[in-house]
Amino acid sequence: MATTLDKVDVVTVGVGWTGGIIAAECAKEGLKVIGLERGQERSTADYSMVHDEYRYAIRYELMQDLSKETITFRNSRNQRALPMRQMGSFLLGEGLGGAGTHWNGQNWRFLPYDFEIKSMTDDKYGANKLPAEYTLQDWGITYDELEPYFDKFEKTAGISGEDKNPFWGTRSSEYPTPPMKKTPLLQKFETATSNLGYTPFMMPSANLSEAYENPDGQQIAACQYCGFCERFGCEYGAKTSPEITVVPTARETGNYDIRFNANVVEVMKEGDRVTGVRYYDTVTFEEFIQPAEVVVLTSYVLNNAKLLMVSEIGEMYDPETGNGTLGKNYAYQILPGASGFFDEQMNVFMGAGALGMTIDDFNGDAFDHGDLDFIHGASLSMTQTGSRPIASNPLPPDTPSWGAEFKKASIENYTRTLSVGGQGASIPHRDNYMTLDGTYKDAYGVPLLQLTYNFTDQDRALHKYLTERAAEIMQEMGAKTVVGRAPISDYDIVPYQTTHNTGGTIMGADPNTSVVNNYLQHWDMENLFVVGAGNFAHNGGYNPTGTVGALAYRCAEGVIKYSQEGGSLV
């Protein structure tokens, strides 16, 4: 039934940051690479009329068509999982560039502490700092080992920043471009956090401060501060994205092709090797088999895990016994913060997705947790990303959510409200995991991925502590009213929170506790690589893309090495 195509050296499933990086590096080495992308071709020209909040931000123009595929969700194992019928808590991307097209561009390296979190926490606080149901583990790689790959991704992306943060890892070189403009709003944050004894610095940004040519010869333009980044593509080619960097780099080699409308449904295998992938052409519904020497799963976190599950590769995680690894350590992100209401009007509608200042004084293990009932923390930032009028209706406490009073207050405060927000670490828990759903299927007849997730005591304690710190900063910034974010209780998949889903295909040093080794090579199938935020053994206190980019470069090196030498790379 399925048509079998000519064999290639490498096939990637999905063409976003990870698929693009693998393709560029492997194609430069002379490997023949095919990228299978279920969505469509798109480029900077497609974003010329992108300043449309309703179409892109509210109606999710760039996001996955859930009528074809979604996930199911429940808070706990004793609930019935039901489909996520509408997009909400997180936004799944689709099309060339993936989430690398609609991201804000906040580009971080996870902390040295993150990669060795289990060892370092145990060393400092003893093995019982957290109860045993928190399945914390090291990543099987250190920050220093990953540093060259971080450096490479930042140079590819032209990241704008400044090395003024005393709490992050040592850098081998300066940021490729200087930081973005320190606007008057950011200066308020800078002054307040300095007064409180913290160390503010400009957020590392993929909205470039100046035009830049990357080492592959790709041009990235300078950001115009138009205020339309998150959920939008950039009409200037000034927000670094795969389609303006690694994808053209790969194509220019002549060794790379992308097949669009190609939805992969299975990784094919024979014995202890994978042989290729099976996919549907989403237009004609024709079925194809693409044989390959090496398969690299480069789709989103949830889909990478799902493909391994439906292909029966690896041992499924069992929350009852703790055995198995596939689907284990799903983590999300904890979002403490505070809003402040001011008297004066501010230019909140101007900005860029990664225009911000940050402190890391309460991130990782930068502060002592001896007397606290949680570990890790959050980066605390004030960003000026461009507030838009449908989504931004800030209300002081006790204001109704509709009617005359609502209208006045939301209009009055739209230009008079700032917030300090945290990207809080999410520590894995025995009961938070992914598996396959037994009831619901996608448009191709494949079971949906099932997510079981709830916030934990660790999360609630972290949220409360960091929200208090954010509120203090907002107070110092001179807000007349400060409102901390409400304490978190049960995770709710309805309101948007963050698209920083992690885990399920975690990396590590031990095949008994991880899915892939530190080259992102599958422990059971040596010619299969799985790369993305699914490799994170927990989620850290930053946006994930910088670390995902570094892992993708590490993975590319692994694929090339494997193609030359074969065998396990560790």
Partner: protein, 251 residues
């Protein structure tokens, strides 16, 4: 979505070739655009803005694409107006064209939930699991508006549209609190949808039929589609700019 042409703003900006270097003058272009913006709040007409090329008589006619029953549409008008009322700051939902916006949205992919997972089996689930009804948005809206009319009859023995504002608010509040029985869906969810749709219509780009003459953006101080703020981003003072629509980019 229908592609209704907003005739009054057809003239200008040939910004199809967007080069970063050309954007320095964004503020100047904005001034020109502002001069063409209607302030009277009336339905757009092709007249004085000129350049329609065909004698300038192309009147934009408004009509219903989804609702068939004028009473239901009238309930929608009044309900959205209570959510976002006219006041001294400017027009409310009706003046902004929000009911037409919602009607048009319900006729298209939004109303049909065509990019959402609508496969059975349907089960109620927990609030944290989100929308689980088999009803599409356009079905939910019709039922919700009919229920509002029924509530008006049972509570006040009058049509919803003839109620006092406070009476309408009482009914809306009953929906908001989930106190009204609905079939195959819950009233709380319907109210949230109605509220959000009202805000969508008020503040979306006027190309969708709401936010008439960008009056909602003017009230809020949002300049709409601006190519660049690189010359203003470091300003210590609040920068007031007349808004413009992304539709202005079409040549």
């Amino acid at each position: 979505m229908a592609e209704k042409k907003n005739v009054s703003r057809r003239d200008f900006l040939k910004t199809s070739g967007i080069a970063a270097g050309a954007l320095v003058g964004g503020g100047i272009i904005g001034g020109v655009i502002g001069a063409n913006t209607r302030q009277d709040g009336a339905a757009p007409s092709g007249g004085e803005a000129g350049q329609s090329g065909g004698g300038g008589t192309t009147e934009a006619v408004r009509g219903l694409q989804f609702f068939k029953n004028q009473q239901e549409f009238a309930v929608l008008q009044q309900a959205t107006e209570r959510i976002f009322p006219e006041d001294d700051l400017g027009p409310g939902a009706i003046g902004l064209g929000v009911p037409f916006f919602i009607d048009h949205q319900l006729a298209g992919s939004y109303g049909e939930n065509s990019r959402e997972y609508m496969q059975p089996p349907f089960a109620e689930g927990e609030a944290t699991q989100g929308y689980q009804s088999r009803l599409k948005r356009n079905e939910l809206f019709r039922q919700g508006l009919q229920k509002m009319q029924q509530e008006a009859q049972s509570r006040f023995e009058a049509n919803f549209v003839d109620l006092e504002g406070e009476q309408m608010d009482e009914i809306l509040t009953a929906f908001q609190d989930g106190e009204v029985e609905m079939q195959g869906a819950n009233a709380q969810f319907f109210f949230r949808l109605l509220r959000q749709a009202t805000l969508n219509g008020a503040y979306a780009d006027p190309i969708y039929g709401g936010n008439q003459n960008m009056e909602a953006w003017r009230m809020k101080g949002f300049p709409g589609h601006r190519p660049s703020y690189i010359n203003e981003i470091e300003s210590e003072d609040f920068v007031e700019m007349d808004p413009h629509s992304v539709g202005d980019m079409l040549t």
